[in-house]
Amino acid sequence: MTHNLDLNSVEELAHTRVHDCYQCGKCSAGCPVVERMDILPNQLLRLLQLGRLEKAMAAGAIWECVSCMTCTTRCPKSVDCAGILDALRQLSIEHDVASPAQRRTILFQQTFLDNIRRNGRLAELDLVRKFKTQGFLDDLSVPQLFKDALLGPQMLRRGKLHLRSRRVKDRKLVGRIFARCMADNGRGNGHGGIQGELEA
């Protein structure tokens, strides 16, 4: 498939204008996870202004973002910086450029969506199980797997985990909604991703 690797795709996805940004840095200044980022949010915006979409998409920073909206809320130019990061994540997956270190986050989000797609609502136990096995198979943070698993029983004991979750009546409908959203490729989810990888 062809990817339209231009700024428009980011702006269209994020519904915001990259050239409105005047590089004040307020987004970076307020970001709670900025210390973990390899490229600061304002620098990502700058890269986009320069047309360096590839570099921005491959940044680890976009997977550190916790979508807290602080940047968007305080931006003096009303640039939806958080939306830009969302868009970059989506494009990064479409173009398969995320670094291996980021795959865990992607994996989680994909697993999450897949879970909803199949159940209509989140089946948490299912999600945790799937996520952990996938994570394990990809050999990521093995110790983490065990640590979280330990919480499982505690949650069960507190009645916080249900072995069976209540499902939606027309689960096919949710599948159809997903299919339609994913359909228009560029703006949906292309290869791999939610359907491909996990359905197997």
Binding site: C24, S28, A29, E35, L40, R74, P76
Partner: protein
């Protein structure tokens, strides 16, 4: 039958090369109403003008068409010639057969044909021209200056020194404006009060200046040269003439807890007070909301102490009328309210910086007071919360300014310089202190300005970080400033003792109401609009009303003063004649047809249209119609285009004239 003369010019070869002048002239002679048709090598030369004058006289012409160059070139010349021959100068029309014809159309046959057309149009138009007389407006040679900041003071003194009586209206109890409260001023760092207070005293003593303090403009009527202004003098409760300014009264006043306006709330004052020691007039005022006598009916200590018997608790507001020929608006600015969002405010506050929440987050004007020898700390730099000397101070640029999300897109222009000044003055007072500035761009575009900023960085060691601050919080009495240095590409947290916000300049409160009273336009932020940003920078669209200082846009002192002198100069120019002469090519309204819809009034860029009342013999109101104020109309014709009943028309470009021009092309 009209008697029109056509004069076609050769302009040497300029016209004749591409236009067959002789043929044109002959064809012109055939046009309806044309009595005679002549040519001349150089129509604007003395012989050319003589030809015109003589022919007008000999043929008793009542309309003249001159086919030559652009009217922008010689219309005035030919009008003068016509006047000399006794013909009303407005009965002249020009056909531009040079710029619009011979010079752009090398094909001689076509150019000649077009020249004839152009003359045909001019001849058709001139048949409907009317004799007009220049409009003469008498002038009251007295000026009103609104606002007594440095701009208003300068304008008032310039005018007064030139012999013009001036009424200076200031809302506060003293003149001086913001500058009176500044510490030292960039780019020279001279003491603000040292240079301003002598000027304030001059105002007080000038025989040509009537000073109204605690006063505001209530109403403005009339038009250029003839304004009738009503001024509301608010009750001061002091007889200024009796009072000697001895100070007995405020020393005994028990009501001491009102935050001082002059110190921006960082100190308190009494209920009877002078705003600051150098105030002009150097007389106290009673704050009616704080005075125990005026609110609760008890106390009166001040009056007991006053030996001059100057205190008048029964004082009332007073309305005074002044007749003036010109108005200068110099109402200055206020700083952006940087605290939480106000209920009604269109602008959205600055909650993330905690102004109004943390006492050590202050505005730039407050910092000026902390630096000032006459300030609440006597010039020692002590922070508001606990009076300690701040060792780390963070200055933040563009607070409110250039922040579209908060509602202001413009640059406040002065704050980059103010920040540099502040870091310097701070360093001069606290030698072991460190100043940090967060900035986006450094705008220091005046004479010696950039050098000034560099000095702050290079000599006084201020740390400049390019980036905005996102949030300020307080921990253990210190301020955590979370910013970024975009040049280093790193987030940056500074633990500061004091944060100074260089907040945006906004026009003074109430300026919109004032602008409406004098018919001056203002932009979306409330800054007053000049007539033309380059060529008429102190004039406004309301004839006879001028602007200067920060009410027109963010400005520093040198610029405010320059503009004030310019405004005074414009007023003097206006007053240099006993009467104003205005072009008579203005609009008029046929009142019998006017439907009173006032579409014209809404469209008129000069607010030149008033509502007039038509009354019958018994004085009963029959209807309201539009009426053009000849003192204000500039002749743009917008009203003509807007009038649905075709009651408005424009001299010189009347409906008849314009339609005749088009019709003859049929």
């Amino acid at each position: 039958m009209p008697r029109i003369g056509v004069f076609t010019c050769w302009c040497g070869e300029n016209i004749a090369r591409n236009v067959d002048v002789q043929s044109v002239s002959e064809q012109a002679a055939q046009l309806p109403g044309v009595r005679c048709s002549q040519t001349c090598k150089y129509m604007c030369s003395d012989p050319g003008q003589k030809l015109i004058r003589d022919t007008i006289a000999a043929e008793q012409l009542d309309g003249v068409v001159i086919a030559s160059c652009s009217p922008h070139m010689h219309l005035k010349t030919f009008r003068k010639a016509a006047a000399q021959a006794g013909l009303n100068p407005y009965l002249i029309e020009m056909a531009n057969i040079r710029e619009h014809c011979s010079w752009v159309h090398p094909d001689k046959a076509r150019a000649t044909a077009k020249a004839v057309d152009l003359i045909r149009m001019a001849a058709a138009k001139v048949r409907h021209n009317r004799a007009l007389e220049p409009i003469k407006v008498p002038v009251t040679r007295k000026a009103l200056v609104v606002g007594g900041g440095v701009a208003g003071i300068q304008a008032a003194l310039d005018l007064a020194d030139a012999g013009i009586p001036v009424a200076l209206v200031e809302r506060e109890p003293s003149i001086g404006g913001k500058m009176a409260g500044l510490s030292e001023t960039f780019p020279t760092l001279d003491c603000s009060q040292c240079i301003l207070t002598p000027r304030m005293v001059e105002v007080a003593q000038h025989p040509n200046i009537t000073l109204y303090t605690c006063s505001e403009v209530e109403q403005v009527e009339g038009y250029v040269g003839n304004f009738q202004v009503t001024i509301r003098k608010r009750a001061r409760y002091i007889d200024i003439d009796k009072c000697t300014g001895c100070g007995q009264c405020w020393n005994v006043c028990p009501s001491k807890k009102t935050p001082s306006e002059f110190d921006y709330g960082m100190g308190n004052r009494t209920a009877i007070y002078v705003p600051f020691p150098q105030a002009v007039p150097a007389r106290p005022v009673i704050d009616r909301d704080a005075c125990l006598r005026l609110t609760k009916g008890r106390c009166g200590l001040c009056a007991k102490k006053c030996q001059a018997g100057a205190i008048r608790f029964e004082d009332q507001d007073e309305l005074v009328r002044e007749d003036v020929g010109a108005v200068i608006v110099a109402t200055g600015y206020q700083l952006y309210e940087i605290g939480r969002r106000g209920e009604q405010d269109r602008l959205s506050g600055y909650g993330e910086y905690g102004y109004g929440q943390y006492p050590d987050v202050i505005s730039s004007l407050q910092f000026e007071r902390l630096l000032s020898a006459s300030g609440p700390t006597g010039g020692e730099l002590r922070r508001p919360s606990d009076g300690t000397i701040p060792k780390t101070v963070v200055f933040i640029s563009c607070v409110g300014s250039r922040d579209n999300a908060k509602g202001m897109s413009y640059c406040s222009k002065i704050c980059c310089m103010v920040n540099a000044k502040h870091t310097m003055l701070y360093k001069h007072k606290v030698h072991d202190g460190q100043a940090h500035v967060f900035y986006m761009d450094i705008r220091a575009g005046g004479k010696n300005y950039d050098e000034f900023v560099r000095r702050a960085i290079e000599q006084d060691g201020a740390h400049y970080h390019r980036g905005r601050v996102s949030k300020i919080t307080q921990e253990d009495g210190r301020l955590i400033v979370r910013g970024v240095d975009t040049l280093a590409g790193e987030p940056l947290t500074i633990v500061a003792d004091l944060v100074v916000l260089a907040s945006a300049m906004r026009p003074a409160a109430g300026v919109e109401e004032l602008a409406q009273k004098v018919n001056v336009g203002y932009d979306e932020f409330g800054f007053l609009c000049e007539s033309h940003p380059k060529l008429r920078p102190v004039e406004t669209n309301a004839a006879g009303v001028f602007v200067c200082g920060a009410c027109h846009g963010p400005k520093d002192i040198p610029e405010s003063v320059a503009q004030a002198s310019a405004a005074a100069g414009k007023v003097l120019l206006m007053f240099s004649r006993d009467q104003l002469h205005r072009e008579p090519e203005i609009a008029h309204i046929q009142e019998s047809h006017c439907a009173g819809c006032f579409a014209c009034r809404r469209g008129c860029p000069y607010h030149a249209i008033d509502a007039a009342e038509i009354r019958d013999r018994q004085g009963l109101l029959v209807r309201r119609v539009a009426r053009v104020n000849p003192g204000l109309c500039m002749g743009c014709g917008t009203c003509v285009a807007l009038c649905p009943s075709k009651s408005a028309d424009l001299e010189g470009f009347s409906e008849q004239q314009v339609y005749a021009m088009v019709e003859c092309l049929r």
